[in-house]
Symmetry: D2
Subunit: 335 residues, 4 copies
């Protein structure tokens, strides 16, 4: 079977298409024929060596796959050959609150990832694909959608009538927009592009704020909401955190769901204290959370937004496309 491998060092030029022996599922495992893989910014960081510098190589990158169960190992009754499934980002986070153990075993580093035609996963580490979605669409769910759902529902308790701010138009933010709409919330999107803001409005955003035209966009959100948003999905980048703290209402929540830069941010803690704000780190979610989200996605026949699909042979181009940061929604590799 073919796979994409990061070997010999970090960097996009260290990615190559290799032939590997077909893996076999052991007891409690499943073999999945991967049909589509979606990229996350974390994958780009990983390949470039910026996510975990001690990541052992070679590594098959990527965490988010959709495909079909090809075979199951001894003792597996949870899924059967032929089932359509998605991968679970944190393979051992089945239910309940996070723990070090649950957060440790993630695909695409620490564990080998899914950018391969065949992968072996724990039988507990897959989720049934919503029937109305193609594999390409379903591949976008494991990290970006679950992260947005977890921020909105598990930790955010967003309900109809609340206002949610999503920053930019990357994968998590667009899912944030779509899922917040399912929950009955009003969504404000920020972007540096009026054209992307127009597309976000078509997806249901009530308002768009161009942060290039309005660098103090936190104040603009305050105006639009009469005092601040209930929840801000903070995906990081220069200076956004301070604006997020301005944008949120007293008693509201800033969900830290990505930090593109990884560098230190200056925070005046009194701005958290004095308005009793909650800053909640979000790192994907449990399998039960994924399944709950899928019930909502299936009921509402939500369609993930795919920016572009690349064939496996052009996987590197897919990464470069992500690096260029021009996308709207998810970037997918078809196998």
């Amino acid at each position: 079977m073919r796979a994409i491998e990061l070997a010999g060092g970090f960097g996009l030029d260290k990615l190559s298409l290799v032939e590997r022996a077909d893996p076999l599922p052991g007891p409690g495992q499943v073999l999945v024929r991967v049909r589509a893989v979606a990229l996350n910014y974390r994958d780009l960081l990983t390949v470039n060596g910026h996510y975990n510098r001690r990541q052992p190589l070679p590594l098959v990158p990527c965490s988010d796959a959709a495909g079909e169960v090809e075979a199951v190992g001894e003792g597996v009754s949870r899924v059967r050959p032929g089932d359509r499934v998605c991968s679970l980002f944190a393979q051992r986070w089945i239910a309940g609150p996070p723990s070090a153990e649950k957060l440790r075993w993630t695909l695409g580093g620490a564990l080998d990832g899914v950018l391969a035609e065949l992968v072996v996963l724990s039988a507990e580490g897959v989720v049934a694909t919503p029937p109305h979605l193609s594999d390409e669409q379903a591949s976008t769910l494991p990290c970006a959608a679950v992260t947005a759902w977890s921020a909105l529902v598990d930790e955010g308790s967003v309900r109809a009538g609340d206002t949610v701010v999503a920053q930019g138009t990357g994968g998590v933010s667009i899912f944030g927009l779509q899922l917040a709409r399912l929950l009955g919330a009003r969504v404000i999107i920020t972007s540096s592009s009026d054209e992307k803001l127009a597309r976000a409005r078509e997806l249901g955003a009530a308002e768009g704020v161009n942060y290039r035209a309005m660098p103090e966009w936190g104040d603009r959100v305050k105006e639009l909401t009469g005092g601040g948003a209930d929840l801000v999905l903070e995906v990081g980048g220069a200076g956004t955190f301070a604006q997020s703290l301005r944008a949120v209402r007293p008693g509201g929540q800033v969900s830290v769901i990505g930090n593109l830069t990884g560098t230190a941010t200056e925070v005046v803690l009194t701005s958290i204290l004095m308005r009793r704000v909650r800053v909640q780190g979000i790192l994907v979610g449990s399998r039960e959370s994924f399944e709950a989200m899928n019930r909502a996605i299936a009921l509402h026949r939500l369609r993930p937004v795919i920016d572009r699909v690349f064939p496996l042979a052009e996987a590197r181009a897919a990464f470069e496309h992500m690096a260029a940061a021009k996308h709207f929604g998810k970037i997918v590799i078809r196998l």
Copy 2:
């Protein structure tokens, strides 16, 4: 009646003992004869002009009082003359989550405070004093104890078997220690003084960490807890926040309950994100929260820890004592 007034500018030397006309309660108000007032660090900041530079003067400082209802205005049935009561820090925060409106009307700035023999408060803005406490003891509750309770219970859901870290031995931290013990938690105290750590152990702390001897105390907490504390009460000061983030377990909470310095702190947001940590700003709590705490305090006959009591005439010395930061527990002024 006599009162302490901040007038003519900021600074401890602008505090003076003045004679004012006795106030009268209007409809829906109560007149309270104040017997004791407890200081908070916020009061020192306020007097020095570091809390709110636009604070109109003159101002009667301080928010935390205990005393007796002297008279009630028209239509008041909630309390009666002779009732022993404490002041409510945020006069309009009766119940439910915070809001801008609820957080705005606080005693000792924005509203006039309680360092006076007689004060008029909203009839909704007082709480019955736990019967086993003296007024001096009860005066310590409105800000410091309610803040600790709110962090531990309302936002922290601390339960028996959890581990809580309290920083230093100021008022909020000592209440954090005492209340966390009532809830069945294990408490780790940090301090720069071995003698204070010894006293904290007498009050029920399981462990003490001298942060002078061990500046990387976050790692020490991780060791002591096998992976991190469930909740850290962050009271601020140089460099504590980074250590708090190290000290907390994945999925745990850092309660930001004070920020002595007010200056910006460098935060690497990925440390919040990657371990799914919650950073929760805490600014006192509601009246219902205060009342729930009082039920616990009364049941367990908890005694607040008072460092020293000053007479009204020496109010300035009380502020200076706080500024010296040598205290253990609360500083009280007797009227």
Copy 3:
């Protein structure tokens, strides 16, 4: 001003249109010119002496009004003359969880009600009317809608993808249907009338179950949901509770929001225990809950379903219409 008064005993024939002196607002009160009043089944029970046999008479019945602030008493800044407002069912339940005190002061008994041209309420006991609603529409909110919202949101935490069962097509159930849809849930409606089920489907119900054709409708819900609904809104009546317990999934909730008969029901507690079901009594909700609901109603421009509007002079006919139990949605009296 004119009012409807229950005097001289219980029963619809004891209702009469009377002339009363215009009331005046005292300190902390508002005078509201009532434009519309909505009926609840509780009002019928009250008038017939089945709600509280010790209810002192005369009584102005009804709790749910919408109108305009005509004047405000001393010290009132929360609302102003000209503001459009709805009445708060439990006048002192402003925020937080319920208590005996909060549940005691309800309009239309214990307190005098709102079926009058002018009523005096606490300034804290009114809520701003959603701007897109007429007074007739807004009058339906205080009891029926808030009860449904409280069951779904405050106690039910219903979220997108959940399944909710609403029994019948009375006021609370239709609000349950409409509000559950805003929250992204799937709704199953039960009724004895196929025509009413068809109308419920037009309002967004996914399924309708005719309980006359299918008395064991709990099993039908189980089938339709693959194991049981997440939440059942139990509005009472013969034998529904046992079916509700069958209809709910393990770990799910039955919200007891009405009990038309008031007689004892046989319950096998093991059916609650063995499936870890929650049975949650719901008696309206707080003002903050009402306000949160109004934000959702305003955002989605939800329109309450009104069955029929009666003029004040025909108030008795309105009660008779409710007693006939043929209505779909709310019955309103216009003033």
Copy 4:
């Protein structure tokens, strides 16, 4: 190895000590050498055929064991030979809220139980024994203690200052008393025996109510608490449920944790509705809940209360002792 087997029909006389082949752990399983087994009322019902009439026989009864890991199957890293462990009542309920699937696989029926010298369990289905406890003490935890913890903590959010009522002095109630004390609550115990009430007071109960002397004990609780308890642990029996509903405060919770009789109870639903009471079914809890409880038990060095210990050969006498209902705390069988 020796085991107790229920074979040839239901009834205590169908229990016999048999010799069985030593079982071997398969992949993902552990072999546990059982040292002690604790009885629950459910075990008595099961043996008498009153729990599940379609229970296939032969059956090894009982769910609660403590012992030592003897061997582990392929791929098991969670525990190691020599580890001291307790059994998990619901073998597949690892974390998160309950589901039909999680509640189905319980020991001692549906699954074979633990009253045997050697048992094979899922490696996920055991919990580390708190080090300070003997195996006899630890064997009491899996059902009774976890049920009490789950009612108090997971569903009850009991906190310091709350009042909890525990009915009688059986296993769950005594754990309810002990654990509620760890959480800082005040406990009221009911019993028909003044001597048992005296023993409960020694364990920390604040009050005892003799329900024989005072059949309307719900009203007595109301008096003692000034309006009702926050939480009532309802373990069933004639007429207790109606008293529990009287004993609980408005907005409070009745946890249905046992129903000794299994027969229908008359309930006036309006008594649930009008006081917004929650009736919460509790059927043990998850492994994470068990582990959280063990942290509390270990921290406070809580000792379970054992009524009497029987040798394996006298297992039937142990069941008869339970049937006599004279015990105080748990009945244990030593292996």
